[in-house]
């Protein structure tokens, strides 16, 4: 059975980068698809890929990952600078991040405004 977990940004905001990655990867390795409010920093995303590679084994094949950002806002000047500072200091809470184990999620197809989750067919247990 696949579990979908909705995770608010507040659940990870107090964690270190490695802590966030561990929390998300632990869920993926537990066959849980996580829908996280907001997104990781670019450096955290690459770290997530690195740690994922270290964890790959016979059972865990890696992850499918997608980030959907909201449409472009029309902020300019000071408002844009303020948003950038807030995102840098407090983390980017806009949009959402979808992370699922590759043995459960076959692919994530994404347009800028739409996201499709393609699931693997469940293997019959004997």
């Amino acid at each position: 059975m696949v579990t979908l977990q909705l995770m608010s940004y507040s659940e990870i905001e107090g964690l270190s980068s490695l802590g966030k990655i561990r929390k998300l990867l632990d869920a993926a390795r537990d066959e849980t698809v996580v829908l996280l409010q907001g997104r990781l920093k670019p450096e955290e995303e690459t770290e997530l890929i690195k740690v994922t590679m270290e964890k790959i084994n016979k059972e865990f094949k890696g992850i499918e990952l997608a980030v959907v950002k909201p449409g472009k806002t029309h902020e300019t000047g000071f408002a844009k600078l303020r948003s950038n500072i807030i995102n840098t200091v407090l983390g980017d809470r806009q949009g959402f991040t979808l992370i699922g184990p590759a043995n459960v999620v076959k692919a994530i197809k994404k347009n800028p405004d739409r996201i499709q989750l393609m699931m693997n067919k469940a293997k019959k247990r004997r």
Partner: protein, 210 residues
């Protein structure tokens, strides 16, 4: 204001590049996008040898390969590069996919293990690069998170980026879609396999670092 600051930082970096003798030019992208094919084409053109082996099966390049002192002369301007061909970056690696592609189980498992290490190495090498060419397969979805993550990281590190929409010799290739996905970057459409679009590539590369 932040954009002005970023442009200033980028200009300072470029000025530093020009005073240096050799620029580290990295080829990044997802597996099977044509990184090695393009790097081979450049190395063959300017130093007369290939940098790596090309294969239809993904993750043929499983370690970072470098050729130093590649002097490129484009319309009278000369720049010397250390060219680094990196393993394709992926979020998943399944040895069973290699078996489906025709490899034996033991070979497939070994390839998968080496491929995971290759992805880690490719990511570690990002910080060493002065300029990066992100090679994308123009027949595939450019909005893949791997592409966005690679480019986001390069942007965060202020590393100049040139995006190549490769495989334009194929019918399904869609350069406009790649351009729409990454409007802030120069996107060069080309077929590295057929050697088409090389002039536009060199022009864009020299415009970026020259």
């Amino acid at each position: 204001m932040l954009d002005i600051f970023k442009k200033f930082v980028r200009k300072v970096f470029r000025d530093i590049f020009l005073r240096r003798k050799e620029l580290k030019l990295g080829f990044y992208g997802p597996p099977n996008a044509g990184k090695t094919t393009l790097a081979n084409k450049i190395c063959k053109d300017w130093v007369g040898k290939d940098i790596g082996v090309v294969s239809e099966i993904a993750h043929e390049t499983r370690e970072v390969k470098v050729i130093d002192k590649v002097e490129i002369d484009y319309e009278g301007n000369k720049l010397t590069f250390a060219i680094a061909d990196t393993p394709g970056i992926a979020t998943k690696i399944d040895y069973e996919e290699f078996i489906k592609a025709g490899l034996k189980k033991t070979v497939a498992k070994k390839r998968a293990k080496e491929a995971t290490r290759g992805v880690i190495d490719a990511i570690k090498w990002i910080d060493n690069m002065d300029v990066v060419v992100v090679v994308l397969d123009a027949t595939k979805d450019p909005y893949s998170q791997v592409n966005i993550t690679i480019i986001g990281n390069l942007q965060a590190r202020n590393i100049p980026v040139l995006v190549v929409a490769n495989k334009t010799d194929l019918k399904k290739a869609n350069i406009k879609k790649v351009q729409a996905a990454f409007p802030q970057y120069d996107v060069v459409g080309m077929s590295a396999k057929k050697g088409k679009g090389m002039d536009a590539f060199y022009e864009a590369l020299f415009a970026l670092v020259g």
